[in-house]
Amino acid sequence: MSADKSITDTTTLVRRSLAKRHAAEKRFRAYGIFAIVASLSFLVILLVSIISKGLPAFKATYVNLDINLSAEALGVSESPDRTELRSASYNTVIRESLRELFPEASSRREKKDLYALVSNGAEYDLFDLVIENPEIIGTTFSLWVLADDEMGSVIKNGDDLTNPENIVTRMNENQLSWAKKLQDDGRLDVRFNTAFFENGDSREPELAGIKAALIGSAFTLLITFSLSFPIAVAAAIYLEEFAPQNRWTDVVEVNINNLAAVPSIVFGLLGLAVFINYFHLPRSAPVVGGIVLSLMTLPTIIISSRAALKAVPPSIREAARGLGASDLQVVTHHVLPLAMPGILTGTIIGLAQALGETAPLLMIGMVAFIVDIPQSVTDSATVLPVQVFLWADSPERAFVEKTSAAIMVLLAFLVAMNAVAVFLRKRFERRW
C-alpha cells in the first residue's frame, strides 16, 4: 500500500512540475534561436555599415572647365618640343579658367579657396592630353576634371546647396556658393569613379585608387599559390600514402596541426628575421610576402588535401596495384586525380585566407606608401588588406568611404573565391 501511494505521489509531483519543465524547454530553445539570430545580425550590421559607407566611393564628381590653352599661359614657345611641354605650367591654365568663371575671387585667400575646388590631379589630366595632342595648344575647349574631395562628397551625397547651413563639410561659404553656381550652370557631374580602379595610392582622397594594391595582391597570391600548392600536395601525399607509422611521422603530424593555430603575426616575425635580415631579400616585396603567406597557408592546404586523399577508397588503390602499377603510379594515375577537386577546394580556401591576411605583411614592410603600380614580384608593393589598414588610419573624411569601398572589393574577391570552391565541391565531389 505504501508503495502504491508513493508512486501516485511521484506522478502528481511530476505532473505538477511538467508545465514548469516545458516552459524551461521553450526558454532553452529560445536562447539558442536568440544566439543564432544575434550572431547573424552582427554579420548583417557589419556588412550594412561597410556597404553604406563604401558605396559613394564608386562615384566621383567632375567639374567642367573652359580651358583656354594659349602657349603664353602654358609658358612655352609657339611650337614647343616635348621637353618644353613636360615642364610647362598646366596648373596656371586650370587656375586661369577657374578665375574666369568666378572673377569675384580677388583676395589671396579667396583665390586659394577657389583653386581648392578642383583636384590636384586636374593638371596631370591636362598634361596627358597635351602631350598626346600638342596641336590643341592655342585652342579653347571644355574639359571635365576631377573635383576636390570636399566638394566632391557634398555633390555626390546630393546635399541641397540652397541650404548650405545643413551641410556637414569643411568648405566655407564662398566655396559653397561657387559650388552652387557650378551646379546651376550644369558644370558638375557625378560619374562612375574610374580613378578608384586605375590609380595607385595617393595623399589626395579623390585620386587614391586600389590598382597598385590589387596588382600587389595578385603578385603575392601568385607566389603563395606556386609555392604552397605543390609543396602542400606533395606533403599530403607523403603523409597519407607513403609515410611509415613511426614517431617521426607523428611529430610531423602534430607539428602541422600546431602550425595551423600559430598566430599569423608570428609568421611575420619569421619572415622578418629569416628572409629579410638573414637572406637579405627585398623589403616590402610581394616575393617575401608570398613566401611568408605560403608558409602560413601550408598547414591548411595539407590538412584538407589529406582529407581528400583519405576519402578515395582503398579499392581503387588495390585495383591499380593488381594491374601492376608502382606505388607512385597508383597515386599519380588514380588517387590524385580523384582527390583533386577536394584538394583544389582546400587550396582556394587557403588562398582566400592568405588574401585577407594583414598582420604578417606589416612585419615585412609591405605597409609602404605605394603610388606606382608594381611591375614585378621584387618591386615594393602593398596588398589590398594593408591598403585598407593604411586608409583606415588616414585623417581625411573622404578616406572612410575609400576604405569601405576597398573592403567591398576585397570581400567581393573572397566571395568569388569561396563560390568557386563551393562550385568545385558540388560539381566534382564523388560519394563512394
Partner: protein
C-alpha cells in the same frame, strides 16, 4: 644572364630533354623488339634524362649564388686602401657598402673619389666574370648530364626506380617543410630574444610594470632610457581576450547546441555556412568596423549614461573580436556535441527527461572536455589576434581591469615596434621578438593542451 633567367633556361632544357629522352626510348625499344623489352615506360626514361639535366645544374646555380658574395668580397679585400683597413672593421664595412652602392645605383653616402671608382669598376668586373662563368658552367653541366643519361637508355636500365626514388625524396622534403617552418619560427624568435635579454633582464621583462620602449638613439639623449616591463601588455591582452570570450562562448555554444540538437537539416545547412562567413571575413575589416562603428557607438552610449569611455576602449576591440570568434566556438562545439552517442540521449529520454534537460544534464557534461578544448583553441586565437587590436585598441600601456579604458596588447606592441624606421640591434626592435616569443609559447601551450583534450575526447566515443 641573371640567376632567374638561368633557372628558367635550365627548366626549359629539362623539358626538351624529357621529350628527347622519351623519343630515344622508343627508338631503342624498336631495336630490341618493341616496348615490351624495356624495363620502364618511355616517359620514365624521359623523366630520368630531364632530372639528370636539371638537378645538377640547379644545384650548381644555388650553391654558386650562396658563396658568390663571400668570394667576391674576399677578392675585393685586397684592394682596400691601407688607411681604411687601419681604421677598423666599421670603416671597412662602410667602404664596402659605398662600393656596392656605386655599382648598383651610382649613389653613395660619401664622395666618390678615384679609388672608390676604381674599386667599383673592379667589383663590376668581378660580378660580370662570375655571372658569365656560372652561365657557362651551369649550361655545360645540364647538357653533359642530359647526354650521359641519354646514353643510359637501355632495356635493362631501371629508369622508373630511379625516378620514383627522386620523387619520393621530393615528397619527404615537402613534408619536412612544416618542421623547418617551426624550427625557423623558434630559432628566429629565440635568437633575437636572447640578444634582447642580454640588454634587459628577463625578470624585469616578465614582471616589470612600466612599459615605455623608447630607447635613446644618441648616447647623450636624456629621458628615454626605455623600460621594458611587459606586465601591462599581458594584462591588456588578457582583458581584451576575456571580453572576447565573454561574447563568443555563450553565443557560440548556444548556437552550436541549437544547430546540433534542435535545428532541422535544412536550417542547419543554411545557418552553418552563414555563421562561418563571420570567420572568413578578414580581420582588418573587423578592425575597421570596431574602430569606426563600434567604438564610437559604445562611447556614445557610455557617455549618455554618464560614464567616461575612452575612444579606444578595450570593450570595443574585445566585443568585435568576440563576434569574430563565435564561429570557432560554435563549429568546434557542434562537432563534439554531434559526437556524443545517441544512446546516451535515448537513455535520458527513457527516464522521462525533456530535450533541454537531456542536453543540460547529459549531453553537455559528456561533451564538456571537447567544448573546453574548443574554447581553449578560441582563446589562443583571441590572444594572437592582431589587426582588430592594432586598429581599435590603443597604445597606452596601463594596468587596469576597466573595460572602458584604453589598453594595449602584446600584438599591438609587436606591430608598433617593428613598423616604420628601425635599427635592428636596438633593444626596441629586439623587444618585439621577445614579445613574439611569449606569444608563441603561450598560444602553443594552449593549442597543445586543447588538441590533446579534443583528441582524448574523440577517442572516448569512437
Amino acid at each position: 644572364m641573371s640567376a632567374t633567367t638561368l633557372v628558367l633556361v635550365a627548366i626549359a632544357l629539362a623539358a626538351l630533354s624529357f621529350a628527347y629522352g622519351r623519343m630515344q626510348a622508343f627508338q631503342v625499344a624498336s631495336k630490341h623488339g618493341g616496348m615490351k623489352s624495356m624495363h620502364s615506360l618511355p616517359s620514365h626514361y624521359g623523366m630520368m634524362v630531364a632530372l639528370w639535366c636539371a638537378l645538377p645544374a640547379l644545384a650548381i646555380i644555388i650553391g654558386w649564388k650562396l658563396i658568390e658574395p663571400t668570394v667576391i668580397s674576399s677578392v675585393l679585400d685586397g684592394s682596400i686602401p691601407q688607411e681604411i683597413v687601419d681604421a677598423g672593421p666599421k670603416t671597412i664595412e662602410l667602404y664596402k657598402n659605398d662600393i656596392g652602392n656605386l655599382v648598383d645605383s651610382d649613389k653613395i653616402s660619401g664622395i666618390a673619389d678615384a679609388g672608390k671608382k676604381l674599386a667599383a669598376e673592379k667589383l663590376r668586373g668581378l660580378r660580370h666574370i662570375s655571372s658569365v662563368a656560372l652561365m657557362i658552367l651551369a649550361l655545360c653541366v645540364a647538357v653533359v648530364g642530359a647526354s650521359l643519361a641519354l646514353k643510359r637508355i637501355k632495356p635493362n636500365t631501371r629508369a622508373r626506380v630511379t625516378v620514383e626514388k627522386i620523387v619520393r625524396f621530393f615528397l619527404i622534403g615537402s613534408a619536412s617543410i612544416a618542421i623547418l617552418t617551426t624550427v625557423g619560427i623558434v630559432a628566429s624568435v629565440i635568437f633575437e630574444s636572447l640578444r634582447f635579454f642580454q640588454q634587459v633582464d628577463f625578470f624585469d621583462f616578465v614582471a616589470g610594470t612600466q612599459w615605455s620602449p623608447q630607447t635613446a638613439i644618441r648616447a647623450d639623449q636624456a629621458g628615454s632610457s626605455g623600460s621594458f616591463g611587459a606586465v601591462p601588455l599581458f594584462v591588456g591582452t588578457l582583458l581584451i581576450s576575456f571580453i572576447a570570450m565573454i561574447v563568443a562562448v555563450p553565443f557560440g555554444l548556444l548556437s552550436a547546441i541549437y544547430l546540433a540538437e534542435y535545428a532541422s537539416r535544412r536550417v542547419r545547412s543554411i545557418v552553418k555556412p552563414l555563421l562561418e562567413i563571420l570567420a572568413g571575413i578578414p580581420t582588418v575589416v573587423y578592425g575597421f568596423f570596431a574602430a569606426l562603428t563600434v567604438a564610437p557607438a559604445i562611447r556614445h552610449v557610455g557617455e549618455s549614461i554618464g560614464l567616461s569611455v575612452s575612444s579606444e576602449s578595450a570593450l570595443a576591440a574585445g566585443a568585435v573580436m568576440g563576434i569574430m570568434i563565435i564561429p570557432f566556438v560554435s563549429s568546434l562545439s557542434d562537432d563534439v556535441i554531434t559526437a556524443v552517442p545517441q544512446a546516451m540521449r535515448d537513455g535520458s529520454y527513457g527516464l522521462g527527461s525533456t530535450k533541454s534537460e537531456t542536453i543540460r544534464q547529459v549531453v553537455i557534461p559528456a561533451a564538456l572536455p571537447g567544448i573546453v578544448g574548443g574554447i581553449l583553441l578560441a582563446a589562443s586565437r583571441a590572444i594572437g589576434e592582431t589587426m582588430i587590436v592594432v586598429m581599435a585598441a590603443g597604445l597606452a600601456a596601463k594596468i587596469t581591469a576597466n573595460p572602458l579604458e584604453a589598453v594595449t596588447t602584446v600584438t599591438v606592441q609587436i606591430v608598433t615596434l617593428l613598423t616604420g624606421d628601425q635599427e635592428f640591434d636596438s633593444a626596441k626592435t629586439l623587444a618585439a621578438f621577445a614579445l613574439g616569443l611569449m606569444l608563441f609559447v603561450v598560444t602553443l601551450c594552449l593549442n597543445v593542451i586543447a588538441l590533446q583534450v579534443v583528441r582524448k575526447y574523440r577517442e572516448q566515443y569512437e
